[in-house]
Subunit: 311 residues, 2 copies
């Protein structure tokens, strides 16, 4: 398969490099790292080892890539408005587009650009950081869950899953992609949100301060309620389970907190805005989510302005 | 009457000076401004005029004041733990203690130190600032509502009210002091809290950003629900009324935001903690208040640590 990766930050660079090392034809659409990766390729630091992809196919526009079998979207959701301009040169009548982005609404967004049956989604459970131009450090995990948008896995998805597996990635497919997104969102809404709103509150702080722990639980239950009202079968205990499984994470900084502290865009709409709008459409009361969204949309806007002024 | 004022910041200095100018015997317990006020008295800038009380009775401990008829408590609630030590030298068997403090729980606190029938409460609707040592600037309003703790106004309270009126303060008495506190709290919980949590959100910003406005309304409705469960008769529309009446306040900084920005203690427990604990005791669900409290108690603690490190 010929693959194009749009937005090759840490996620795109990591999975793209692993696939390219298996001799798949992988094209990277890059912006800030284009020059470096064209000269030196990608370097992955992973579990004490260093993997290199010395020659990477680097592009700065999608026209030079041309039509591909699979597009992997690894842009931040805050740049989704670029996709209608970026995708068309890549698309044949058969091209599938796989979003590896966070939060809700990304498959829906793609389904407004191409037929829904060609939209795929993936959830990445991986701790990565782009530590220098062209360099990615992998801290742990690395599994991926793939699904078709609003459909059971089809043969193409299974092929993609095989490629990921062949590249050494622990991969599973799901026939309930949306449910998997909601399950992941339960953690992200609470821990990413409170991390910023409560002032650099790492996971151990949210768990260790009873008022914050209680606030996290309330947020998680609200997300579960929206998911249930949307027809998904998240169990009530999923919230407590998420708290319990976080106990060993220590002073972990949720990814949105890292974004916030580094002055990068925070995915406010994908993580908090979209579920809130679903709740409102379904008539589910989510007062804690609504307040968190209200606070975050303002804090993150101020943060972005501050970053722009510094630059 | 002989009056002692404990904690003569802006509120204590303002009302104390007005009463002293009417030839009441007013003793001020001061800390940081003691030297200045002893030398130069109080200066009030009010509505374009300047009032002076050149000779003020200044004390740095309550023992030198001795027994009084009325104690006015104008300490910040964050210093309430000082009261059991400060009050005894002032108390005869008849002394009344009037708390002019913000939030909930202050009369209850006093009723653990002296008999409940000698506890009075007052709500100040006044915009004041201590602009220099011994100097207070009055920006507007100035009315006061006085009541007896858990009782209808008694003759003593009416006498105090007459003294305030005689000093030029618009004064009213209420036989529903607790209800008046809840009514005031509705505004304070929402606007003071979101002002800090959403990053310097002045009143116009909370009103003008739909997600924040909606969050304010939700918080107000939760406070009304707790008040109603406590047996008070706040109408549902009190929330919308509070939003509407705030429209002309412009870029007003709620007092807790000012405290926060100046690195002063924020009255987190009196304004958010006490109503939350009442809600929990009564089984009233207040997810928005709980989250706001969780965030504020941490933000304000960090703020206090930062201030202490600077000093």
């Amino acid at each position: 398969v010929k693959i194009a990766i749009i937005g090759a930050g840490a996620i795109g660079g990591y999975y793209g490099t692993l696939l390219a090392l298996q001799n798949h034809e992988v094209h990277f659409l890059l912006r800030s790292d284009a020059e470096t990766v064209r000269e030196r390729g990608w370097t992955l630091h992973t579990c004490g080892a260093t993997l290199r992809l010395p020659e990477a196919k680097v592009h700065t526009e999608t026209a030079s890539i041309g039509r591909v079998d699979l597009v992997m979207v690894a842009l931040k959701t805050t740049s989704n408005e670029l996709l209608p301009g970026l995708l068309p040169p890549l698309l044949s009548d058969e091209t599938r587009v796989l979003t590896l982005q966070n939060g809700l609404g990304n498959e829906e967004f793609l389904a407004r650009i191409l037929p829904a049956h060609r939209v795929l989604g993936g959830l990445c459970s991986v701790r990565l950081n782009r530590t220098a131009p062209g360099e990615i450090t992998h801290y742990g995990h690395g599994s991926i869950t793939l699904g078709c948008f609003q459909r059971a896995p089809d043969p193409f998805l299974r092929t993609v899953a095989d490629h990921f597996t062949g590249a050494g990635v622990q991969t599973q497919t799901t026939d309930r992609l949306e449910e998997a997104r909601w399950k992941k969102l339960v953690w992200n809404v609470a821990f990413n949100g409170l991390a910023i709103a409560a002032g650099n509150a790492t996971v151990d702080i949210v768990l260790g301060e009873p008022p914050l722990r209680s606030a996290a639980l309330t947020l998680m239950r609200e997300i579960i309620a929206i998911a249930q009202a949307s027809g998904h079968t998240l169990p009530e205990q999923w919230a407590e389970f998420q708290l319990d499984r976080s106990e060993n994470m220590g002073a972990y900084r949720a990814s949105s907190l890292l974004d916030y502290q580094l002055g990068r865009p925070v995915e406010v709409e994908a993580i908090w805005g979209e579920p809130l709008r679903k709740a409102q459409a379904l008539g589910v009361a989510t007062p804690a989510l609504a307040q968190l969204y209200a606070v975050l949309q303002r804090l993150c806007r101020i943060n972005a302005q501050r970053t722009a002024e510094k630059a």
